[in-house]
């Protein structure tokens, strides 16, 4: 993003004022001003008491008291915040500013940005370790391939981990803290990949391809660490588009990957005939791993899957058998719990710590849908 200095530093600088409340932002991708914040990402405090919402167009983070459901504050950050992660002590929120190529650190008590850390091109995903000492930032630029590592105490970037392919969109940390799972949304590739990275060495231990995939949007570990789930779309671009009515342009899927070396990659459908899940985005899973929640940005709903049934499918079929399931428009009924209509454009979901409430950030409606989950 260095070069963006010459594109309009004055405009950007006005938005970067530290510690203030945001004014008008810009509609994503344009220089057109808007008062609509465009909530793009949502996360909770460790105790579930506060929701933190990254406003992609508003260039700010909104604080919401989860109990009273009232907005309690707003803090300006860099341009186009797309992800955030909270330290376990609830002291600092680290926010990825995609357009600014930086991470803003918000002091929660003071509701102020206390540091802005330069990172690689287009940071769009971040996770913090359980001990709170390290943040991993996925820098997803089209010709960029780093996971930048931040020492959260010093609030400094300490090193970069290199992925096998360009465009690392986001990541998750394994429950034992030893491995990163990174999704590479590599422009131009129809076989996009997941990297498993050893945290200690910073090396990719395995690149696993999700065949015929594009638009990888989120990744999450199951609580036992044996699987990761990825949202993506399957482009049918080797077929004439005249086949559109038969679902031959895109299908919308999750991939479930066994995390053991050389494990299976199950590509499972989210679509039903005449009822597709266009543009699956953010993921959340309850602490016991019973349900998976998927923000369906293009269809304005959250799809809920029974993870036990999903994993039964993965365990009970060979790789070649799994390969036949991807386009089966009746198969999602095997594990679908519900499709819950939300506001417009839910691109991110998160859960209360007890798993009883799912929060969806609705980009176009500028609100958050609170969903009562099936968890007792």
């Amino acid at each position: 993003m260095k070069g963006r200095v010459w594109l309009g530093a004055a405009v950007v600088g006005a938005v970067l004022s530290v510690g203030g409340v945001s004014g008008a932002g810009f509609i994503q991708g344009t220089h057109v001003k808007t008062d609509l914040p465009g909530p793009f990402h949502i996360t909770t405090s460790p105790d579930g008491g506060t929701l933190y919402i990254c406003n992609q167009s508003g260039h700010s983070v909104t604080f919401v008291d989860a109990r009273t459901q009232k907005v309690t504050g707003e803090v300006s950050v860099g341009v186009q915040p797309e992800a955030s992660a909270m330290t376990p002590d609830n002291a600092f929120l680290f926010v990825c500013n995609a357009e600014s190529d930086s991470v803003s650190v918000i002091d929660i008590a003071r509701k102020q940005v206390v540091k802005e850390i330069k990172v690689g091109d287009w940071p769009s995903g971040i996770r913090i370790t359980k001990d709170g000492r390290t943040a991993y930032v996925a820098c997803s630029g089209c010709m960029w391939n780093t996971i930048d590592v931040i020492d959260t105490g010093k609030m400094e970037k300490t090193r970069s981990i290199y992925t096998s392919d360009y465009g690392p969109r986001t990541l998750d940390i394994s429950p034992d803290g030893k491995t990163l799972a990174v999704i590479n949304d590599t422009v131009g590739s129809i076989n996009r990949s997941v990297n498993f990275i050893d945290v200690d060495t910073g090396r990719v231990t395995e690149k696993r391809v999700i065949r015929e995939s594009a638009n990888l949007r989120d990744v999450i570990y199951t609580p036992d660490g044996q699987y990761v789930v990825v949202t993506y779309e399957t482009p049918k671009n080797w077929l004439p588009v005249c086949e559109a009515e038969n679902g031959q342009v895109f299908t919308n899927n999750i991939a479930v990957l066994e995390t053991k070396a050389g494990g299976k990659v199950a590509r499972l459908p989210l679509d039903e005939l005449n009822n597709y899940d266009g543009n699956p985005y953010g993921l959340a899973m309850d602490p016991k791993g019973r349900y998976l929640y998927i923000g369906i940005r293009g269809m304005h709903r959250v799809t809920i899957l029974d993870m036990g049934k999903v994993l039964n499918v993965v365990r009970g079929n060979s790789q070649s058998e799994l390969d036949y399931l991807r386009d089966d428009l009746g198969f999602v009924r095997e594990y679908l719990v519900a499709r819950v209509t939300t506001g417009l454009g839910p691109s991110s979901v998160c859960l209360s710590p007890d798993g009883k409430y799912c929060y969806a950030a609705n980009y176009f409606s500028n609100n958050v849908s609170v969903i009562r989950t099936p968890v007792d």
Binding site: R4, K33, P235, G278
Partner: protein, 341 residues
């Protein structure tokens, strides 16, 4: 929290929010129980009477940068619900940053069987024409009267999207959003916007008349408005017309069999009939702005990387710049320069 949730949940149950479940609605069924408004309320444009096919000369009537219209257009761009079955949105190919997935498609509007690279649409308003072969002229026609995008997104979106046509206002909003998309700028320059040493060396090569890049991609790197395109069509050795009416293979092109085998699909393919876009030998000169983000390259996506566009592996020798005399280091410097645009 729960008392508040109960109150709003009643409203939700009355129909403010929909719930679609696999079975009957019952206690414990997941549902929206509250909505927390964190910004101004917003609703999309209603689905009015769709535009009819004979209405062909469509133009933007309002300011293309009117915020509300651009926002409506952005919504439309990201909305899959108007597509038959909710299968995908514009953003599935030109994903939400307004860029490109770099995938190549057989859309059929230039004839079935010819692969076409997904165009990068940021900054598109600055540089018509918009199709690879150089059709369409006026910026208003990005999704307007005569462009391919009009057929895809505007007058007759049914062709690709199998949807209803847009109402005039919805189409105008989509046009406004696409027109408003700006280049991102390169992340590969120095922090002060200057060029690195390798990029400077590459700039010299770029402007060397013996190499000839600047003949078709003119532009001054210090000018933020430079587009590095002459907006003309040229034969750069990427037309695939070969002997006996089959696709020639000066380099690698998309290979269906390899794809189906789960391998790199950019292998050699020599028996594809020449039809549609492959009959064209001259293609529109694209801008080099944001070229780092707009791969894959060439009209058919045959160049996956920037180096492939200049190393004579996917096009006829020295047709896309005269580069065969350059050393490997000079080639790499040239790539570094391109990444800075």
């Amino acid at each position: 929290m729960r008392s508040g949730i109960k109150k709003i949940g009643l409203v939700a149950a009355l129909g403010l929010f929909g719930v679609v479940t696999t079975g009957q609605l019952m206690a414990g069924t997941p549902q929206v129980v509250a909505t927390i408004q964190t910004g101004p309320e917003w609703e999309p444009l209603p689905r009015a009477e769709p535009l009819t096919v004979p209405e062909v000369h469509y133009r933007v009537k309002h300011s293309p940068y009117k915020s509300e219209l651009v926002r409506y257009g952005q919504f439309q761009f990201n909305d899959a619900s108007w597509n038959l079955q909710g299968e995908y949105s514009c953003a599935s190919c030109h994903y939400e940053r307004g860029q490109t997935t770099g995938l190549i498609w057989d859309l059929g509007d230039e004839g079935w069987g010819s692969w076409k690279n997904t165009k990068y649409i940021r900054g598109g308003r600055y540089l018509p024409p918009f199709r690879h072969e150089g059709f369409t002229g006026h910026p208003d026609e990005i999704v307007g009267a005569t462009s391919s995008l009009d057929r895809v997104c505007g007058r007759d979106p049914g062709f690709v999207f199998r949807s209803e046509n847009f109402s005039p206002l919805r189409l105008e909003a989509l046009i406004c959003y696409i027109r408003a998309l700006e280049f991102t700028g390169s992340p590969f320059r120095n922090a002060d916007g200057s060029l690195s040493d390798a990029q400077k060396r590459g700039e010299k090569i770029f402007n060397d008349p013996n190499v000839g890049c600047a003949e078709c991609h003119p532009g001054d790197v210090s000018d933020p408005k430079a587009l590095f395109s002459d907006a003309q069509t040229h034969d750069v050795g990427t037309g695939r017309v070969g002997v006996k009416g089959f696709r020639s293979t000066p380099g690698k092109v998309f290979n269906l069999k390899a794809l189906e085998a789960g391998e790199d699909p950019y292998g050699e393919e020599s028996d594809t009939p020449i039809i549609g876009l492959d009959l064209v030998k001259e293609f529109d000169t694209p801008t080099l702005r944001d070229i780092y983000a707009s791969g894959t390259y060439f009209h058919d996506g045959s160049a996956r990387l920037l180096i492939d566009t200049i190393n004579n592996t996917v096009n006829d020798k020295d047709m896309h710049g005269r580069t065969s005399h350059l050393t490997a280091q000079e080639m790499q410097d040239l790539v570094e320069f391109l990444k800075a645009l």
